[in-house]
């Protein structure tokens, strides 16, 4: 087990900079998920930790040792790749035990450890098969076994579940988290899937365009998104976002709707982005902060129902429990509770906190 310190790390391919000064401290034994859209530099950051990419600028320390100049094998990391990257010509046992073979362990010793690991992953019956004869989930387990067997200081995962079908993905997700609970090894997990991130992580690191947007627990990220980007990226369906303007103390206007908000210290006329989560809207209630929606499409998701429509011409989504009665389409009024309104500075995209009214810096 080890902590990881990432200090002002940058990565450039030629003139093209893809990671712009990342600072991040990962505590020993923590499960950190790096979440972001495709191409935001998640893999690059992970591969710099692993030693598969050179660090252009800055420093990475694992367990207190700066590893910039170390070979991957000296860093004590193990990695699980997206496409498994199993050695096709080796049996499952040889795949799992290859790292030990390279390390020079004797055959009986290797065999014993491979069997232990295989047992914990439910692979005991497949040790003599080739990867080509395994299902996707089994291959994934072999890849995990190969990472586990060397008892590394750090586990690195690069979208390891994205090649699995939906059901298996959920199952493997749980297995990975259970494994972490059992072994307690510091883990860094890269994904573009927010559900994966929310369910696996102790802390989520949201990245965008080579920057860190926010670091926090899944709940913090969901409750208090630090920027407009995080607000729009986290949550399914995503947060409704509008451009608006401060019209008075504790009052903003967007799309012709006037909302009173708990934010203090807003400057009149200030341009803001207003965010409202679909699941925090109260349908049919008629207090203050009301507006109406023209629903033109209803999406059934089993436990919940999504109402797609327009509020004063802008697209808007409301999520209601599936038990809510009512016609499929039509004109409904709804209420937005004041505490459910998120405000972001329109220029910087940064969150404006309800109480302090100040701008909270990212991470």
């Amino acid at each position: 087990m080890a902590d990881i310190d990432i200090r002002s790390v940058r990565k450039a391919y030629g003139k093209n900079q893809v990671v712009h000064g990342v600072d991040l401290s990962i505590r020993s034994g923590e499960f950190v998920v790096i979440l972001g859209p495709s191409g935001c530099g998640k893999s690059t950051l992970l591969r710099m930790i692993a030693g598969l990419e050179a660090i252009t600028e800055g420093e990475i320390a694992i367990a207190g040792d700066v590893v910039n100049a170390m070979e991957p094998r000296e860093r004590g990391c193990a990695m699980v790749f997206q496409n498994y990257a199993l050695y096709p010509h080796m049996t499952v046992a040889d795949n799992i035990g290859y790292g030990l073979k390279v390390a020079g362990l004797s055959k009986p010793e290797r065999r014993a450890r491979v069997e232990t690991v295989a047992k914990s992953l439910g692979l005991s019956d497949y040790l003599d098969r080739k990867p080509g004869q395994l299902s996707g989930g089994q291959r994934q387990r072999v890849a995990m076994g190969r990472a586990m067997i060397r008892e590394p200081k750090v586990f690195l995962f690069d979208e390891p579940l994205s090649n699995l079908d939906a059901k298996l993905r959920v199952q493997m997700r749980i297995e990975i988290r259970k494994l972490h609970n059992r072994l307690g090894t510091t883990s860094v997990f890269v994904t573009h899937d927010q559900v994966e991130a929310m369910t696996l992580a102790d802390r989520v690191v949201v990245m965008n365009g080579g920057h860190i947007e926010q670091v926090g627990t899944p709940e913090e990220i969901y409750r208090n998104p630090a920027s407009r980007f995080v607000a729009g990226f986290i949550g399914s369906p995503p947060m409704n976002l509008f451009e608006g303007r401060v019209t008075g103390p504790g009052e903003v206007e967007a799309q012709g709707i006037v909302l009173s908000v708990p934010h203090a210290g807003l400057a009149r006329g200030q341009a803001v982005t207003v965010g409202i989560r679909p699941e925090e809207v109260l349908l049919g209630a008629a207090g203050s902060n009301t507006a109406s929606i023209d629903v033109d499409f209803r999406e059934e998701l089993g436990s919940v129902r999504l109402l797609h429509g327009q509020v004063a011409g802008a697209d808007f989504v409301i999520q209601v429990p599936a038990t809510t009665a009512g016609p499929k389409v039509g004109h409904f009024s709804f209420e937005v509770p004041a505490r459910a309104v998120h405000l972001f500075d329109a220029e910087t995209g940064m969150r404006i906190d309800p109480v302090a009214g100040g701008i909270r810096a990212a991470a």
Binding site: P72, R73, M79, Q82, N83, A85, H89, G99, V102
Partner: protein, 310 residues
């Protein structure tokens, strides 16, 4: 493309059969000729059915061309060329595909250009180098005046010499140093996912270990193909062995020996007797190992293809 129409089936089979006949009929004629007696083969029209003199013709060809020694030489040369080729091709392709170093593209193009220079084209300079491997260096030393300086200082003449004429090394090396296999291997290595190399790196394997324990086993099918191609290529060499071997009795190859069996008037061996039956028997013997290699390797290709998984 899979078509299931009887007419097309018939046409494709007809094309195959014609192709087979074109390839097979000459071989059949060689075989028939090798079974006839001297008298039968010189009586037109030539028979299309085998006669009964195969064994004596084979024995005569074997003895007259000293094929025991020649086949051994050919075998040594061909196996060494094929093996050397695989070693050279795989390691150069490995460097070209998996490493980023200055001059990588230049190296690639230099190797590529040698494709356009088969042995026959560069045979004179190759011979000159084989006669004295150090001659290019000697030339450099002479031109730069270093030789003169050496002579002034030590009083001895500076003459580097390493002669490859009449040696197995001389037979083999120039045939190994070509680009064909490098490209075959390069194409294969380009299909190997980069993640595989990274996984090996994470497992702690260095580049040579990755090459030996992962790339080589994965490329077995490639290896078999290249071995077959290079074996046949080396086995069929005629011009180069003819040039490099002066001691033909001990260093000559089987294909060279065939020439001695071809009846020519005034020839020291044939003495003008038109014994084509013996010549054809010699052909059968000489072509057999090559056929055997193809047959064995073909089975291996198929196995390799079936057992391999993505």
């Amino acid at each position: 493309m899979i078509e299931r129409t009887p007419v097309l089936n018939f046409v494709t089979h007809a094309v195959l059969l014609v192709g087979l006949a074109i390839a097979f009929v000459p071989m059949w004629l060689v075989f028939v000729a090798a079974t006839l007696s001297l008298q039968e083969i010189n009586t037109p029209p030539i028979s299309l059915l085998p006669g009964s003199h195969l064994w004596e013709n084979l024995a005569e060809a074997w003895a007259r061309a000293d094929l025991g020694v020649k086949l051994t030489n050919s075998l040594i040369m061909s196996v060494a060329v094929a093996a050397g080729k695989i070693a050279l091709a795989s390691i150069t392709a490995f460097a070209l595909v998996f490493f980023r170093f200055p001059g990588r593209m230049a190296a690639f193009w230099l190797i590529f250009i040698t494709l356009m220079l088969p042995l026959e084209v560069r045979i004179v300079p190759t011979y000159a180098v084989a006669a004295n491997v150090f001659s290019p260096y000697q030339t450099i030393l002479d031109v730069t005046g270093f030789s003169w300086l050496w002579q002034q200082l030590t009083g001895t003449e500076l003459a580097l010499e390493w002669n490859l004429l009449n040696s197995y090394t001389g037979l083999i090396l120039p045939l190994v140093a070509t680009a064909t296999g490098t490209f075959l291997y390069r194409q294969f290595f380009l299909t190997v996912p980069e993640e595989l190399m990274e996984a090996a790196k994470m497992d702690g394997a260095g580049p040579l270990r990755f090459f030996r324990e992962i790339l080589m086993p994965l490329s077995i099918t490639n290896m078999a193909a290249l071995f077959t191609i290079m074996f046949i290529y080396a086995w069929n060499q005629y011009l180069w062995p003819l040039l490099i071997t002066t001691d033909r009795t001990h260093r000559g190859t089987a294909v060279m020996a065939l020439r001695q069996l071809i009846p020519m008037s005034g020839d020291s061996t044939g003495g003008g007797v038109p014994d084509w039956n013996v010549a054809m028997a010699g052909c059968l013997i000489v072509v057999a190992p090559a056929l055997l290699v193809v047959a064995l390797m073909q089975r291996f290709f198929v196995r390799g293809l079936i057992a391999s998984d993505k």
